[in-house]
């Protein structure tokens, strides 16, 4: 209690010092808000990407693609591999898939159609929000498609409509009949599902898939089965690269690593600049208070205590600005107003862990910013400082 009251007095003194020059404090605060807003926004983008990939990766799922990365989007994997995958002990189900990338009603309404084998796909990935009637209709209609609710909303399409997904470049248009919608909450709400053989008919490449998905009986089997499959197909015309869905997601993240590192670097650069801005503001305050600091030292405030006051001042400013900036970015991202350009159905969001990390980072930022001014505050002999010598 006794120590607390003395500490409270020093905290009061520290607060008054922060507000000594309101304009300078405000400008520094705004600089901090902008920097931490930017940092939190970038961290939220990264969080969204990571979460998106993690959500779509099952622990028991495995993912097979051609070993040659260039073959992936050309749908080079023979569909007959599916039967051999199913024959492996421990594999519960396997299903082929390929892509059609196109646009909906508007040029900017990006539509990803995944061509699948409906019976095996629906066994592999039961879709929430798709009724049995819709699933039945999908299985029975070669041009039928299950459309993600977000695609329906952004294009103004409805179940029962005959629609055209316009191909891009040399990719032909795709005429589809919407037989059901994939619920808004489903992770597949952003894509459309169609028959793989219909896509092959329109796009060419009959009997070929871009990848094969499979489910194994237990997560512990995934790695061993993936290896055995690659060994089995090693001498086939199209060798494979099979991984668990989790490691596949990790691989996608790794492929994005340059982008992620770039984003992170920008975020951290913003913080480094902030350290300089806050450090400069605090250093100006310290220079103006040379005589006061000398007086405090004469009155018995040791070097450590004076340094703590100066560093505390920087940390207080940084915490206030950091918290405000991080909260602002968090609120904006959580509002769902920030959408990925050209993918209006994918909104970016944030998380309390991102907010907490950003806000807590303001403390070391403040401490680093305050260190140099703190050293300069106590470096001068007391007798010189008392005369305000700079």
């Amino acid at each position: 209690m006794r120590r607390f009251t003395s500490g409270a007095g020093q905290l009061r003194m520290l607060l008054r010092q922060v507000m000594r020059s309101p304009r300078r404090a405000l400008l520094t605060f705004l600089g901090l808000v902008v920097a931490f807003f930017l940092f939190t926004a970038l961290e939220s983008v990264l969080y969204t990407l990571e979460e998106l990939l993690a959500q779509n990766a099952s622990e028991t799922g495995i993912f097979m693609r051609p070993r040659s990365r260039a073959s992936f989007f050309r749908a080079a994997l023979p569909i007959r591999y599916v039967e051999q995958v199913r024959d492996v002990d421990g594999v519960v189900e396997a299903s082929p898939a390929r892509f059609h990338f196109g646009a909906g009603v508007h040029e900017g309404s990006f539509v990803v159609v995944v061509g699948v084998d409906p019976p095996s796909y629906l066994r592999l990935r039961p879709l929430e929000g798709v009724s049995e009637v819709e699933a039945q209709a999908f299985r029975g209609d070669r041009r039928g498609a299950l459309m993600g609710a977000r695609i329906l909303a952004s294009n103004g399409w409805e179940v029962g409509d005959e629609v055209t997904v316009r191909g891009r470049g040399r990719v032909p248009d795709l005429s589809l009949r919407i037989v059901g919608d994939i619920g808004q909450g489903d992770r597949m709400g952003r894509v459309a599902l169609a028959h793989i053989d219909y896509l092959a008919q329109v796009m060419g490449g009959q009997g070929r898939a871009a990848f094969i998905q499979a489910r194994v009986a237990h997560p512990s089997l995934a790695l061993a089965i993936a290896r055995s499959l690659d060994e089995r197909f090693a001498n086939f015309a199209v060798p494979t690269r099979t991984r668990s869905e989790r490691s596949h997601a990790a691989g996608i993240l790794a492929n994005l690593s340059d982008v992620l590192v770039g984003l992170r670097t920008i975020g951290y650069l913003a913080l480094v600049i902030t350290i300089l801005v806050v450090g400069n503001a605090v250093a100006m305050g310290v220079r103006e208070r040379t005589m006061e600091i000398g007086t405090l030292r004469a009155l018995g405030f040791g070097r450590g205590r004076v340094m703590a006051l100066v560093v505390g001042e920087a940390m207080l400013l940084a915490l206030a600005g950091g918290l405000a900036g991080a909260l602002g970015a968090y609120a904006l991202f959580e509002s769902g107003w920030i959408a990925v350009p050209r993918m209006t159905d994918l909104s970016l969001h944030s998380d309390a862990s991102v907010l907490a990390r950003s806000a807590l980072l303001s403390l070391p930022v403040g401490a680093l910013a305050g260190l140099v001014p703190a050293f300069s505050a106590v470096r001068r002999p007391i007798s010189e400082a008392l005369h305000g010598a700079d």
């Binding site: 209690m1 006794r2 120590r3 009251t5 003395s6 409270a8 007095g9 020093q10 009061r12 003194m13 008054r16 010092q17 507000m19 000594r20 005589m291 006061e292 000398g294 007086t295 405090l296 030292r297 004469a298 009155l299 018995g300 405030f301 040791g302 070097r303 205590r305 002999p381 007391i382 007798s383 008392l386």
Partner: protein
């Protein structure tokens, strides 16, 4: 009376490049408890240096400087900080108050290092401000007070820890005649009625006349003492 400050063969030099510049040379001085000593002398005579040495703000080059039996030169930085906080009160020419703190908070500053309760601290600060006649100006900031009032706040800050010794460096140097007289009268009262020991550096003979003893320095040497 017993000696509070005992200085013997004190020497202080500064180095300017390769050459040594002596500031104080073979100085001997005793200040008894309850004394009011004025240090006078021309600029550069070493008065302020001597005051800084007594305050433990600077270290002697040679010689002994004992205060209440403690050899100041042998104390560590940490011990010196604590000793200054407990044993020395400072009054500066330009008051040296913290402008963003109220009179009360300024006086409270040295007590922030004391492990005492808020109530005790408040009691001590209020009493000190009452002694200097500023009980009704506690919430005012230095900018809202006259020069004389600011110096009285500084005196209250010097007294609040009940120090062994109050060191005043030109305490009336920035005050007009009326305020200077008030401040000097207050210091004399604290010395005579309160038994506080004062060592005051001054150029002003009128200020020095309030002291019980005047010590004159010239070129770093004691040249004259007058009661």
């Amino acid at each position: 009376m017993t000696a509070l400050v005992e200085i013997s063969s004190l020497r202080k030099s500064y180095w300017r490049g390769q050459s040594e510049v002596p500031v104080l040379a073979d100085l001997d001085l005793r200040v008894e408890r309850g004394e009011f000593v004025a240090l006078m002398g021309p600029s550069g005579s070493g008065k302020s240096t001597l005051l800084n040495l007594i305050a433990g703000l600077d270290q002697p080059t040679e010689g002994s400087l004992r205060i209440a039996g403690h050899e100041i030169g042998s104390l560590s930085d940490r011990a010196l900080d604590r000793w200054r906080n407990r044993s020395i009160g400072f009054v500066f020419q330009f008051y040296n108050l913290v402008p963003v703190l109220s009179a009360f908070e300024n006086v409270e500053v040295p007590l922030l290092l004391w492990p005492i309760s808020r109530e005790e601290r408040t009691g001590r600060v209020t009493a000190a401000l009452r002694v200097v006649g500023l009980a009704d100006r506690m919430e005012h900031r230095p900018g809202e007070l006259s020069g004389g009032e600011q110096q009285r706040v500084a005196i209250a800050r010097a007294l609040v820890t009940d120090p062994l010794l109050v060191l005043a460096d030109e305490p009336t140097g920035d005050l007009d005649e009326r305020n200077a007289d008030e401040v000097l009268a207050l210091m004399r009262l604290l010395n005579r009625a309160g038994g506080k020991t004062f060592v005051m550096v001054t150029h002003d003979p009128r200020a020095a006349a309030q002291a019980g003893r005047i010590v004159r320095l010239e070129k770093g040497r004691l040249v004259d003492e007058a009661a």
